[in-house]
């Protein structure tokens, strides 16, 4: 049970907070990267829909290659040293909804997360990705742990992408 409040983030949002608060979201083929600074006890989460921004539209964090560097920058702005950052990634399911499945969006979303984290030398300490189920996650910043539950279909219709 978390002590503080829990902030819910949607696609294209980035949120950085500190203990005792929590950050939560719901994911389908989207991916959320959770970063935790073990020294400062602060953490951040993003939630992106597609792997790549390709020059069209705004550089919105609904794209992985924008959202992940921005999350890392937000953590650094709060005083984090990238060396102390640990990453966990969630989501990237293929929900058998046709197009997203054929384009392997979930897979590409996962891949982009791993590539960018590797580039920044951030260790990936946990992941629960792929599969066919949506997920709801809650990132507890008190303990730096992520609570995960698989979402039912009816939940996914209401929430995550």
């Amino acid at each position: 049970m978390i002590q503080g409040s829990s902030t819910f983030i949607h696609v294209g949002q980035i949120h950085v907070d500190s203990a005792p608060h929590a950050i939560s979201t719901v994911l389908g083929s989207c991916v959320a990267v959770c970063l935790y600074d073990t020294a400062l006890g602060i953490g951040g989460m993003n939630h992106y829909l597609l792997p790549f921004w390709n020059g069209n539209g705004l550089q919105s964090p609904k794209f992985g290659n924008i959202a992940i560097p921005k999350l890392i920058e937000s953590m650094i702005m709060k005083g984090s040293n990238p060396k102390n950052l640990q990453a966990k990634i969630f989501g990237g399911a293929s929900l058998n909804m046709g197009i997203s499945d054929a384009m392997m969006i979930g897979q590409k979303n996962i891949l982009v997360a791993k590539e960018i984290l590797r580039e920044y030398n951030i260790v990936l300490v946990a992941e629960d990705v792929g599969g066919q189920n949506g997920r709801k996650i809650q990132f507890d910043l008190e303990r730096g742990k992520v609570l995960l539950k698989y979402a039912q279909r009816s939940d996914m219709v209401k929430g995550g992408v």
């Binding site: 949002q13 919105s60 809650q138 209401k158 929430g159």
Partner: protein, 269 residues
């Protein structure tokens, strides 16, 4: 076979990631500039817009025209600043939707008021048909900015002495706002190009090309969308937004409901 396919996807994705990195790098300066100046410009502008109406000269005063010109330019500048602020909020990932009960017709009226000088200059007539007989649950500020950008676009590209028609109606639990202007279709190869920031307009450059890209992002952020259709004489922009059930309290809507469930028996990672 499956493995070969996956490996190839992985390889191609890495390639795209690499190429896009250069693209992001080259656009970085613009993004940074955007977020820096947005709030710096916004505060003085709010003050200016608040004061200007008090300076309106009485009837018969020759300075009336100068006043109108100043007011028009100030309103235009304000629209651009609002777009810069919105774009920088979207790009920073710090955009939040706040739901409230709104009357779309009132927002359309406000937007018309903001463009009244240009509408007069071009002698454009704006007609509004509202078939939605109720208030809707939406984010008033964001919806206003969407309408304003699309309407502003219609006034910019609409032909003089013609009609711009705004149609608000409900279709399959969605609210549709269709804004139609008489004029040529946008000269682009692919539709998404006109929703691209800093893109140049077909007849030279109107503003920063931020308006429609902001409108698109805001629509998507509210689970809706924006598109346009053209025929020989007109262009119609169609804004589609889901009609939320009446719970005008931000966090009680949509996806949050089931998150209030406990996380008992959750997996901990």
């Amino acid at each position: 076979m499956e493995k070969i396919k996956n490996d190839e996807i992985a390889f191609l994705s890495r390639k795209i990631l690499e190429l896009n990195k250069q693209l992001i790098e080259s656009e970085k300066a613009k993004s940074r500039f955007l977020s820096l100046i947005a709030s710096e410009l916004n505060n003085p502008m709010t003050a200016i817009l608040g004061m200007i109406p008090h300076l309106a000269p009485m009837g018969g005063d020759l300075r009336k025209e100068i006043f109108a010109l100043v007011h028009e330019e100030a309103l235009l500048l304000d629209s651009r600043i609002q777009n810069l602020v919105a774009a920088s909020e979207i790009e920073s990932g710090k955009i939040d939707i706040t739901y409230a009960l709104v009357d779309p017709k009132v927002l359309v009226k406000e937007a018309i008021e903001a463009f009244k000088y240009r509408i007069n200059e071009k002698n454009i007539t704006i007609t509004v048909t509202n078939k939605l007989d109720k208030k809707i649950v939406s984010d008033p500020k964001k919806l206003y900015l969407i309408i304003k950008n699309v309407l502003g676009n219609a006034c910019d590209y609409g032909l003089v002495d013609e009609v711009v028609h705004v149609d608000i109606f409900e279709n399959k639990s969605e609210m549709i706002i269709a804004i139609k202007n008489q004029g040529k279709a946008p000269q682009v190869e692919y539709k998404p190009q006109i929703f691209t920031r800093f893109a140049e307009g077909p007849e030279g450059n109107h503003g920063l090309g931020l308006g429609l890209s902001v409108a698109r992002e805001l629509c998507e952020r509210m689970d809706g969308g924006i598109d346009y259709t053209t025929d020989e004489t007109s262009v119609t922009f169609i804004i589609t937004l889901p009609l939320q059930s009446a719970c005008a309290d931000s966090d009680a809507c949509g996806s949050n409901e089931f998150l209030f469930e406990s996380f008992d028996d959750a997996i901990e990672l």
